[in-house]
């Protein structure tokens, strides 16, 4: 490679294709401009680096924005879904309370004479309580039913197979009732009075618990 100092600087840089042919290519640059060109190159490099950094930051910001926006949408949507699911469960409980007393597992049928609406057979409910595991989720997800005797008032003794019928609360699943709808019903049972079976009906409140999502 030949370099002339004044007035011109000559670079003979081989190109791949030229090198193969054995020829050389000549570049002529004014010697006074070398420093300027070097500075310009450095500036361009810095600018390019800045651009790349800007691009990287921009990409990061855009990605972050979309991730945050997506998360916001998802959180908002899931909250809405939970609300609508709870509303549906509440509506189900509200409608269930009007029919559950007349469903075959609870209703008096003709056990106490003629058929009556909103009459619950306490003996049958206690029999159902023994088999309640088979009825899991039958009336809805995590739906629990509780029957409380309200008149004549005695106390708040929870019924089990040992103390029935001398008790006040029949809790089918044995779980606490949190969010509920209730209805007034007649709670009837057979009672042995002086060696004779008699029908005994009392006033009670039936409560249906529903799942809150």
């Amino acid at each position: 490679m030949v370099v002339k100092r004044h007035p011109l600087v000559s670079f003979k840089l081989p190109l791949i294709s030229d090198a193969l042919k054995g020829t050389r290519r000549r570049f002529l640059i004014a010697s006074g401009k070398i420093a300027q060109e070097n500075n310009k190159d450095k500036l361009r490099m810095k600018k390019a680096q800045m651009k790349i950094q800007q691009t990287a930051f921009m990409l990061l910001a855009v990605t972050l924005f979309f991730v945050l926006a997506g998360m916001f949408v998802l959180v908002f949507r899931f909250a809405g879904l939970k609300d609508s699911n709870t509303d549906l469960e509440a509506e189900n409980a509200m409608r269930l309370i009007t029919k559950i007393a007349n469903s075959p597992e609870f209703s008096c049928g003709e056990s106490f004479g003629t058929q009556r609406t909103n009459c619950i057979d306490a003996d049958k409910v206690m029999a159902l309580k023994r088999k309640i595991k088979d009825y899991e989720d039958f009336w809805g997800k995590e739906t629990n039913v509780e029957i409380i005797r309200i008149y004549p008032e005695k106390g708040d003794v929870v019924c089990n197979q040992g103390n029935y019928p001398n008790c006040d609360i029949i809790n089918l699943q044995g779980e606490e009732i949190k969010s509920e709808y209730s209805n007034f019903v007649a709670l009837c049972r057979k009672e042995n009075l002086g060696g004779e079976a008699m029908d005994k009906c009392e006033l009670a409140k039936i409560m249906v618990n529903y799942k809150q999502w």
Partner: protein, 307 residues
């Protein structure tokens, strides 16, 4: 002649690529959200339909009816399975959105409902229910329809019962052209042999043997308004509940016996339970008649009636 060329700065190129990516992402997410929304809406409609049927299952009236209207064209698919202690009633909804039917794989399930229907399409749907007693009340069967039905040659008691539903789509005379014919004497699309106790639909027979006021007629309507597959599946579900109720009544008989009030129905209840458990199809339904009738009579005469 100078050759022209397009000079695009880096900023422009970046804006175009990122812009295109953002647009693609926005469209993709929008489509996904719309699909999810449609899915959620169909599931909510399915659940609403199930909840709306609750008032049909209360009281002692032999027949109750109602209707509901959905603002958009809707297809309702009812299916059932026999899993668990009670099986499940499955409802699937598809709604018309931008002239296309939404596709969904999801069902809404209920353990305590028995809906008999074909696959339905329309905006207005009619429901009526009838009690199924075997011999104690097992469930209220719900019949859901949207098409017009023609019962021109039905027996008078059936005509009276259908007219009492006040459903606009049931015709006992002057049937419209597009109505589905249900024949009791002649031969047509749905043939009911009231004497032999079966309904024939697409060459398949569904049996409904039993006392008309107890469960016979309830099962006849079930066979008329549903397909053979749904009918047989729901019948098995009814037997699953009969089995569970037999056990509850058996427990009850022990509880009341402690109060010196005997029913002496334990053996008969066990017999019913075993038969209900072993029912495979409606063809063996006639073997129940004497067990059910016997149990009904014994309960009526018992010192302590269980139901």
């Amino acid at each position: 002649m100078k050759g022209g060329y397009l000079q695009i700065s880096f900023a422009w190129l970046f804006a175009i690529i990122v812009g295109a990516f953002i647009l693609f992402l926005a469209i993709f997410i929008s489509v996904k959200i719309i699909n999810t929304e449609e899915e959620v809406q169909t599931l909510e409609v399915g659940k609403e339909i199930g909840i709306l049927t609750n008032p049909l299952e209360m009281g002692f009236e032999s027949l109750k009816s109602t209707s509901f209207t959905i603002p958009t064209e809707t297809r309702i698919f009812t299916e059932c399975n026999n899993e668990g202690n009670f099986g499940r009633q499955l409802i699937q909804i598809s709604q018309k959105s931008f002239s296309k039917w939404t596709e969904t794989e999801n069902y809404v399930g209920f353990s305590n409902k028995y809906i008999f229907s074909e696959n339905l399409e329309g905006k207005k749907f009619y429901l009526f229910s009838k009690q199924f007693s075997f011999p104690f009340k097992v469930a209220d069967l719900i019949y859901m329809t949207s098409d017009n039905y023609c019962f021109s040659d039905a027996p008078e008691e059936i005509k009276d019962e259908l007219e009492s539903t006040n459903q606009d789509n049931f015709f006992t005379e002057d049937c419209p052209e597009n109505s589905i014919e249900v024949c009791f004497e002649n031969s047509c699309e749905i043939n009911v042999n009231y004497a032999m106790k079966y309904v024939e639909k697409k060459s398949e027979k569904m049996y409904f043997d039993g006392e008309p006021e107890m469960y016979g007629d309830a099962l006849m309507y079930a066979a008329i308004f549903s397909g053979p597959e749904v009918y047989e599946c729901q019948l098995k579900r009814l037997m699953q509940r009969t089995k569970q109720l037999s056990e509850v009544y058996n427990e009850k008989s022990f509880i009341v016996a402690q109060k010196e009030c005997n029913s002496n129905l334990e053996n008969d209840l066990n017999e019913l339970k075993n038969r209900a458990e072993s029912l495979t199809s409606s063809t063996s339904l006639n073997s129940f008649s004497f067990v059910v009738d016997d149990l009904e009579k014994k309960n009526d005469l018992a010192e302590c009636r269980l139901w």
